[in-house]
């Protein structure tokens, strides 16, 4: 790998200043970045280690929100009592990802900012618009079984690989950022962007921006939520498709009715995919499998699968229906 300089700043301001170097990169747990450096995909000249400045605590805020420090390790996030009790889908999503060893190292911010695992992106001997803008996308006509069915562009069909971010998108978590122009906040799923003509940009972060924390909102229905991940092997595999869902059901005389819901999909797009069309279709409607299937259909109408991943559309539909049905059973 390319030789690099390693710096460990004392606080966030120092970190942002250190990251002003044009080829600097923040280093969290290193579970993705170091791999990419070894592959020659990432070639930073300076690594700014932020594991000691970005906050490694989980705390309840006065308004009832839960603040998660950006450097909190994935394993600590999944195991925290507040997360397990209030946001089980988030704890489930984190545990569904990677392996125990990786979760012990990986940070919350690093998880949000991990790069796609598209095989072409990871191979520097091949074209890839995300890695080398303008070089082309071999995945579209090549191997794309694991890639996007929603929101992709002619330039890129990559998926975002995170499980955690899918649950956070469903929750509407807010990402706090320290930048050269001071702090600001980006609500999920608004941190990530669709590829469009610029797949080299995964997020709306500006150069030097440092994620400092993620706030999880007060959302009582999330106490009965679920993350369900479909994967090829039982552990240590990225999602083929995943769903994060929370459901609030009124059990009236006319049958159960959806009062509110949250739904997001993973493994289908360049971003964690908040299923707003499905949520709209569900709210106020009957909490039945037929209604769930209609809502899933409303969301997936926008899907533009490629020949090798067309199965993801019925798979996502089945998964949405089954996960919501499971939440209804759990609520009665």
């Amino acid at each position: 790998m390319r030789p690099f300089t390693y710096v460990r700043p004392g606080d966030a301001a120092e970190a942002v200043a250190a990251a002003a170097a044009p080829d600097a990169a923040y280093l969290g747990g290193g579970t993705n970045l170091v791999d990419l450096m070894r592959l020659g995909v990432a070639t930073p000249g300076t690594l700014v280690d932020v594991t000691r400045v970005a906050g490694d605590e989980i705390e309840e805020l006065p308004g009832g929100e839960v603040r998660v420090g950006a450097a909190v390790r994935n394993a600590d996030l999944a195991g925290h009592p507040l997360i397990r009790r209030r946001y089980p889908m988030l704890a489930q999503a984190v545990v569904a990802g990677a392996s125990g060893q990786i979760r012990n190292m990986a940070t919350v911010a690093g998880n949000l900012l991990q790069r796609t695992r598209c095989p072409y992106f990871q191979d520097v001997t091949k074209p890839c618009n995300k890695r080398n803008p303008g070089s082309g996308c071999p995945a579209r006509d090549g191997e794309h079984r694991d890639l996007a069915v929603l929101g992709h562009s002619a330039a890129c069909v990559a998926t975002h690989p995170s499980d955690m971010a899918v649950a956070m998108a469903a929750l509407g978590a807010v990402v706090h950022v320290a930048g050269a122009d001071g702090p600001r906040a980006l609500p999920l799923p608004g941190l990530h962007r669709l590829p469009g003509d610029h797949p080299e940009r995964d997020t709306l972060l500006r150069p030097g921006d440092l994620i400092t924390a993620v706030d999880l909102p007060v959302l009582p229905m999330a106490a009965r939520s679920r993350y369900r991940k479909v994967r090829d092997r039982a552990s240590f595999a990225f999602a083929v498709v995943s769903v994060a869902a929370a459901l609030e059901v009124d059990h009236g005389s006319g049958g159960p009715v959806v009062r509110d819901c949250r739904l997001a999909l993973g493994g289908v797009a360049h971003t964690p995919w908040r299923a707003e069309a499905a949520e709209t279709a569900l709210r106020g409607g009957p909490a039945t499998e037929e209604a769930f299937a209609r809502a899933a259909g409303a969301e997936l109408a926008a899907a533009r699968p490629l020949p090798g991943n067309a199965f993801k559309v019925p798979l996502a539909r089945n998964l949405i229906v089954r996960t919501l049905a499971g939440l209804v059973e759990g609520s009665s």
Binding site: R2, R117, P138, V230, F311, L315
Partner: protein, 699 residues
């Protein structure tokens, strides 16, 4: 001489090198660092076919620590190679993407890798063809297939028998390319001194590798020494020399310093062999009661343009069942792909997936229980050769497996067992693997202290060979295992066959027993007194093995699987896997069990996960790391059991053992695919059984 009360063979002697391994004292190839060693970073072709025009090393050579760049224009010349894959850096031709075209040598591995990344190689690319199709116009009939078997074989009139058969199964099965992926990647440390070459190499066969390297460098074999004291798995991929070994030796010769070369996991997907993908058509013709009249099994496979490797996929079909009319054949196409090679049970593994899936389809078509169907087709003598079997206990394995698994009373109807949203089913398949032996030599020395040293160039690739040979020697010498020390893994020791073909223990054990018996006789002549300098005896089994009685020698087994398939997602998980084996006398029940379980786990992995995906546009295997090439993780293997039936076969070797390293994988994928059919009613004929192959067909 001391006499022990209980024989060591058959006892659960703990691995004699276990402590060394868990404490890190056991040194693997790359852990040897000769003084002044350089580190090699190979550079791989980025075209699938064509020529290297120029290598511009200017920038690479400017990097700190970089000593040399070697490529075809400045590489030392080798003698012509039998295996063109080993003519490393001898010509500008590129035969597959990922082939070595240059190597950078530097003082540290990091410097070497960075310089390799910056090396500028110019090519003239030619159009490539990397896609295996059964109807490929360049399909041809190879002269023979792997292990020297006949390419085609025909008995009776299979076409007429198929036409006349009341029940016919005609199905095409495919298996993908698969890569061996042992835990320890291939590595070589090469050092030249006084005209001789010393290699620390992660190899399955030190003696064979020595011969290969000596021929390439035009030296007598005695001037090459290959050391492989510990090897972290191979599954066949370390059974023969691959280009990295030659590259390391070539580079060391060029710069006059020792060279260390560690093959990366990514490189292993191009340069260290793999299992060919196969397309197999199986036709079975049977009576309504399931008795076979005809079997036709045709396999279509690939090799590279520079080397012919023809997997013997349909060979097990020749001896498995008693069908009077049979045809088995192999066709091969040479593509612009990496060269395939041995991977655990080459031939049996893909071939028995097809045959045993077809047998399950026949059982369903006839309404006969799948265990019973196989029993009904049990041959009295080997259908392939007409010879008697030395022992054949497939039926015992099937019966014992059925009993242990709880097969009795199984409802044969597919797709009817639900547990919530899960569809549950069970399946069975048969296994077989030949019990080969190859000539080997051994020596044993008695010391005046009453201890013995056994010397043989065998290799323990993690199987427990060192332990098993200790037990075998102890019994042959009439002493305790603690008094026997094994020296293996060095080509300077008496010549031994490769740890492959499941024949290591049988071949080496024979030589060890003969040497031990010779020593005992010698000791008797010395009235039991060992001279001060010790006493040594040797044996070579060449004559014994060439003269052995002609019999059909094979191990057999039966695998049973229970699977659950998620009706919403098509995810298949194996709940239970049981293997029952008839493999002669078991030398060590602990290491043997590990071999069976390891093989079955690899079979599970093959059934559900493993697939090397060919990138048609660029011509390489795309998913070239363990994040993308999925192997079974622990969570995929919740309950796997292996056991064996007693088998007393006096026609094998002095131990009465059959090889056990490969049979565990053989029937497993078919047993799982058959269980998936029983669970869902969907017959998946294309491995691996990915969820999308089930999803649209689920109830």
């Amino acid at each position: 001489m001391t006499t022990t009360a209980a024989p060591a063979v058959g006892s659960a002697l703990p691995r004699v090198d276990g402590l060394d391994k868990v404490t890190g004292r056991a040194r693997y190839a790359f852990e040897h660092t000769p003084r002044d060693a350089l580190y090699a970073a190979p550079v791989q072709a980025t075209i699938a076919r064509g020529e290297v025009d120029r290598v511009d090393a200017t920038e690479a050579l400017r990097r700190p620590g970089v000593v040399a760049v070697v490529w075809h224009a400045n590489a030392p010349r080798l003698a012509p190679a039998d295996d063109a894959e080993l003519a490393v850096l001898q010509s500008p031709r590129v035969a597959y993407r990922g082939q070595y075209v240059a190597v950078v040598l530097a003082e540290t591995p990091h410097e070497a890798r960075e310089a390799a990344r910056l090396l500028h190689v110019e090519y003239t690319a030619e159009p490539h063809d990397v896609e295996l199709r059964a109807d490929h116009p360049k399909m041809y009939r190879p002269a023979q297939v792997n292990a020297g078997y006949a390419t085609d074989e025909e008995h009776g009139d299979p076409d007429a028998a198929l036409a006349a058969a009341p029940v016919v199964v005609d199905a095409t099965y495919t298996t993908p390319a698969e890569h061996n992926n042992p835990m320890e990647p291939h590595a070589t440390v090469a050092e030249w001194h006084s005209g001789g070459l010393v290699l620390h190499d992660s190899t399955q066969g030190a003696s064979a590798l020595r011969r290969t390297l000596a021929a390439l460098f035009g030296m007598p074999p005695e001037q090459v020494r290959v050391i492989a004291r510990h090897v972290g798995g191979g599954f066949g991929s370390k059974g023969r020399a691959h280009p990295h070994v030659v590259l390391a030796a070539l580079a060391a010769k060029q710069v006059g310093r020792p060279v260390k070369l560690a093959v990366t996991r990514q490189q292993m997907f191009a340069v260290t062999g793999y299992r060919t993908p196969t397309v197999q058509r199986v036709r079975l013709g049977a009576e309504p009661d399931g008795r076979l009249a005809a079997i036709v099994h045709e396999a279509f496979e690939q090799s590279s343009t520079i080397a012919e490797f023809a997997e013997q996929t349909t060979v097990p079909t020749r001896m498995m069942y008693a069908a009077p009319h049979r045809r088995t054949c192999h066709r091969l196409v040479r593509l612009d792909v990496p060269t395939p090679s041995w991977m655990r049970a080459p031939g049996e593994t893909p071939g028995m997936f097809a045959l045993e899936s077809a047998m399950d389809e026949l059982a369903a078509a006839c309404g006969v229980d799948p265990v019973e169907l196989r029993v009904r087709n049990e041959p009295a003598t080997d259908p392939a050769t007409g010879l008697p079997f030395s022992s054949r206990n497939l039926v015992a394995c099937l019966r014992e497996g059925a009993r242990r698994f709880g097969w009795a009373g199984r409802d044969p109807r597919p797709g009817v067992r639900r547990e919530g949203r899960l569809l549950v089913g069970t399946g069975v398949a048969a296994s077989t693997y030949p019990a080969y032996r190859a000539p080997s030599a051994a020596s044993v020395t008695a010391g005046p202290d009453g201890d013995f040293v056994v010397r043989i160039a065998a290799t323990d690739i993690g199987t427990g060979a060192r332990t098993a040979l200790t037990q075998i020697a102890a019994d042959a010498l009439g002493t305790a295992p603690g008094r026997v020390r094994l020296e293996i893994g060095d080509s300077d020791l008496p010549r031994a066959t490769v740890a492959g073909g499941s024949m290591g223990t049988a071949s080496w054990g024979t030589a060890v027993v003969r040497a031990c018996h010779a020593l005992v006789a010698e000791l008797d002549r010395h009235a039991g007194r060992v001279p001060a300098g010790g006493l040594t005896a040797e044996a070579d089994t060449g004559e014994e093995i060439r003269g052995q009685e002609k019999l059909a020698r094979h191990a057999f087994g039966a695998q049973f699987a229970e699977v659950a398939v998620d009706a919403d997602t098509g995810e298949t998980r194996v709940r239970r896997l049981l293997g029952v084996f008839a493999a002669g006398r078991i030398i060590n029940p602990v290491t043997a069990r590990s071999q069976f379980l390891g093989g079955m786990t690899m079979g599970l992995s093959m059934a559900l996960l493993e697939e090397s995906v060919m990138d048609r546009e660029f011509g390489d295997y795309l998913n070239h790391d363990l994040a993308q090439y999925h192997l079974a993780a622990h969570a995929d293997v919740p309950d796997v059991q292996a056991c064996w039936v007693a088998e007393d076969d006096p026609h094998l070797n002095p131990m009465g053992s059959k090889g056990i390293g490969e049979i565990g994988i053989v029937g497993t994928a078919a047993a799982i695919a058959n269980a998936v059919h029983h669970a869902t009613g969907v017959r998946v004929r294309d491995l691996p059984i990915r969820l999308e192959r089930l999803l649209e067909h689920l109830p």
